[in-house]
Amino acid sequence: MASAAAKKSKASPGKQLTYAEAQGALERSLVQLQSEDLEIERLPELYAEAMGYEKRCLEVLQQVSQEIQQLDPENLSLSPLAQPEA
């Protein structure tokens, strides 16, 4: 039985998970890993899944540069924001 998180990620191959998606998938994997009914044969697969989701979460958390864009109030076209002077 594949986890819901796995299904979700497998349903959109190549899609970079957002932090919320990766964190939610990680929580679901952990619930399964902690289940009393867990079959030992499923452990390696779930472990690999959890590791993948955790890796994605840490990637997001370790990001330090912030994407800042200014929208033109008249047409909402995106343009880099000139940083306000200190």
Partner: protein, 384 residues
Amino acid sequence: MELPSYSVRQLNEAIGVLLDRGFAPRFLLEATVIKPVLKKGHLWLSLSDGDASIPAVIWASSLSRLDYRPGDGDGVTVVGKLNFWAARASLSVQVLDLRPSLSTVLRRFESVKAILDAEGLLAIERKRPLPRFPRAIALLTSVPSSALADLLRTAQQRWPSCGLRVVAIPVQGEVEAQICRVLDQLEDHWQALGIDAVVLARGGGSREDLAVFDGEQLARRLARCPVPVITGIGHEDDITVADLVADQRAATPTAALVALLPHRQEELNHMEQLGRLWRQQIHGTLHREEQRLMAGRQGERRRWAAQRYLERRQLPLAGQSALLQALAPARLLRRGYSILRNRQGQVLRSGAGIEPGTEISAQLSDGVLQLSVQAWQPETNGEA
């Protein structure tokens, strides 16, 4: 004493000079606006405090610069100067700047609040939860401004992975329509921009400065915004209609982002703690499984040992069985031996004492012979 003598013109000019010399060139005046009328671009009105009144005018040149257009009955604070027309000895206040008074602002606040409340737009049930980990948010504030600087700094400190879409808006004066136009566009494009929430922010100022955020049309735009709205307007004690209709109100722009964005370091700590926990749990699961397997193997070893023991025991038994088979009476009978029994069925091991004529039986391999004893001849050792 000789009385001074003037012509009317001289008198009026003298009054004008006196006013010029004896009265402050600028002054503040708290008053209520009475019957404002626009004529040829100039706004004519009376200013009153209920007991007294004075005519006033806002020249077209000043009127175009004002953020606020007073209505009849509005309480206002005026920056003014006296105008004296000598030709008619006419005195009026020339309005240089004008702001709604706190009472006017609060009256409008109460009025709009009542309208929206009656429609249920301020109901708690309408409040949507803020996204837990927003991908991108729109920041609606003045650019550049200290509020924007606070927002950018706080976002960088808390959650750098959240994209920021900054939309410059005017935040004071008669600018409600401009803010509404921005919100209208966001309503159409929020998905394309990946926006999960909207922050409406303005730095501190007087309550009167925040009056634009009491606008009814602005409130309606905020109420129908497709993503949650959080406000951070003015100071801790300032509540505007926008605050009431928003999904969440924060006291300041910084507080709005603190409420909206998770803290990166706290989340990192949580993730590390969680990582240790679930690895320990997996380790525990594996350890229990190993114990279970070990217990199974020990049982197997015990069974194997028992089997070996039995096998060792079975080998001598097999020898004994062969011996027993070799010694079996049937085998001897087949070889020609016979077993003699008396009539009581007792095996005869000696002929001594058996009288001639005694009936005995002889067991052969294939039957029983009934015999009658004729004589007993004992054998003696050495005589045979």
